[in-house]
């Protein structure tokens, strides 16, 4: 059983100049506007389709030339933050390992 993640459509990413912002369309338990690093913005863009943690980590590792385990740890933290904001949807998929 594998868990896949996809971003919620109740949040919108806006790039204004050099700033990456995540805007909530509805009421949330955190600020209606959050700031993303460029790396987080890349992960958010990837979450437009269903993605596993491994796939996200692989993407980051390849794009930013970082250690795979470090990338996986960062993805874990970021997904947890998004979940706490209800900015993610998840599903369980059978058969992907």
């Amino acid at each position: 059983m594998t868990i896949e993640y996809k971003r919620s459509d109740l949040y919108v990413h806006r790039r204004i100049g050099d700033e990456n912002l995540l805007i909530s369309l509805q009421r949330t338990n955190v600020s209606p506007m959050c700031e993303l690093t460029p790396t987080a913005a890349d992960v958010w863009a990837s979450l437009s389709t269903w993605m596993t943690k491994d796939a996200l980590a692989a993407m980051l590792s390849a794009k930013f030339d970082v250690d795979r385990s470090q990338a996986a740890a960062d993805v874990e933290i970021f997904l947890h933050q998004l979940e706490s904001m209800t900015a993610l949807t998840t599903r369980e998929v059978v058969g992907h390992e």
Binding site: G17, E19, S31, P32, M33, Q81, M85
Partner: protein, 384 residues
């Protein structure tokens, strides 16, 4: 990597965005007039009395506009009118704006806001609903707006919004038929924890109708109003000291217009702000960059040599601005003695001007500086 920084206080990112926007000329905020007609018939209005039935923005046109504005970097989007809630596709337009990630604000008279609309806004909250308040009774409302039994509906609307946690602002134009209730309106707002503002500059209608000017307060009445509204001397002095130029500037536009903000009317015409009806281009006909460039050209102009405002250290707090002066004279670098007198009276009260009398009273206004027409000057209160 610290991937995300939830912002509990938006002011820090807001300051950074504003600095970046001013430096790079990014239009951080925009107003969009989605309808020019209104359900009220206010005596002072400069838009709705001359609006046509067809002055309504379609959802398709709004989406085209929103895409342009989002690409350009607009963050804060003010939906305005006319009365926005009379637009039959208001919800579609509003959601189109929200889904593009704008921080949406609205101007409204609130008359149309009932439970269903309040519930809709609670589900998709705006940054703020800025409500124009026209008095504290049905009788006063009818006098100003021409609509009977309106006050009760507006109060109910305010209560519905606040009960749903939607931020509300209240404002009123300070004019002859509202001035006696402004202090009470401020108290009404304060009782609800709402900020109340008022504006003392009344301008002619789009296309020149002078009827609103009959509502303009005289400069001395404006000063009395400041006192009534508890603009205490210390507050006023602090305000003036903070914003008074240490050295005057001949920059015509001193606000963010054309640098980090713009206004779009119902036909797609672009101007500096909602107070200006003179457009520099049209976003339905021209690329955004072309129109934004034209707006920047207009707002980068300087006052001509010898213009009385070029050497005035109170320009930062002047009652008049290029948009209101433009409405009064036809040019943003005109001169309106009424506005000047109000500002100087305030400066005198703050201890920053000896007499409160602008030097133009004694020296006259240079011939090359446009002033309001003779008819407009007759429609205004005597400059006192």
């Amino acid at each position: 990597m610290n991937d995300m920084v939830p912002l509990l206080d938006r002011r820090d990112i807001g300051d950074r965005l504003s600095m970046m926007a001013m430096a790079k000329r990014i239009p951080l905020s925009a107003s969009v007039e989605i309808i020019a007609t209104c359900n009220f018939k206010c005596t002072h209005c400069y838009i709705a009395p001359t609006a046509q039935r067809g002055d309504v923005m379609s959802v398709a046109d709004a989406e085209i506009l929103f895409d342009q504005l989002a690409s350009a970097g607009v963050m804060t989007l003010l939906l305005t009118g006319g009365e926005v809630f009379t637009h039959k596709q208001f919800k579609e337009i509003y959601l189109a704006a929200k889904r593009r990630g704008f921080m949406v604000q609205m101007n409204s008279n609130a008359y149309m806001i009932g439970e269903r609309l309040a519930d809709f806004l609670a589900e998709w909250p705006p940054e703020i609903v800025s409500i124009s308040l026209y008095g504290l009774s049905d009788a006063r409302y009818e006098e100003v707006t021409g609509i009977p039994h309106a006050f009760g509906r507006v109060v109910r609307a305010i209560d519905l919004l606040q009960a749903r946690g939607i931020r509300v602002g209240l404002k009123c134009p300070a004019m002859t038929n509202t001035v006696d209730e402004l202090a009470a309106m401020k108290a009404f707002a304060a009782d609800r924890g709402i900020r109340f503002t008022y504006d003392v500059a009344i301008t002619p209608q789009e296309f020149g109708g002078l009827q609103p000017l009959a509502q303009q307060l005289s400069p001395s009445r404006v000063l009395e109003l400041d006192i009534e509204m508890n603009q205490d001397d210390q507050h006023l002095s602090r305000f003036f000291t903070n914003v008074t130029d240490k050295s005057a500037s001949d920059n015509l536009y001193r606000c963010g217009a054309g640098k980090m903000s713009l206004a779009v009317n119902v036909r797609g015409g672009v101007s500096t702000c909602v107070a200006s009806r003179q457009t520099v281009g049209n976003l339905f006909d021209q690329p955004f960059e072309e129109v934004w460039g034209a707006l920047g050209g207009k707002t980068s102009k300087r006052l001509a040599e010898g213009h009385p405002c070029a050497t005035c250290k109170f320009r930062g707090v002047c009652v008049g601005c290029p948009a209101t002066v433009e409405q009064m004279t036809g040019l943003p670098d005109g001169y309106v003695q009424n506005f000047c007198r109000m500002t100087h009276l305030r400066a005198h009260r703050a201890g920053l001007h000896e007499t409160g009398v602008p030097r133009t009273i004694a020296e006259g206004i240079p011939a090359h500086v446009r002033v309001p027409s003779a008819a407009a000057r007759r429609a205004l209160p005597v400059v006192m």
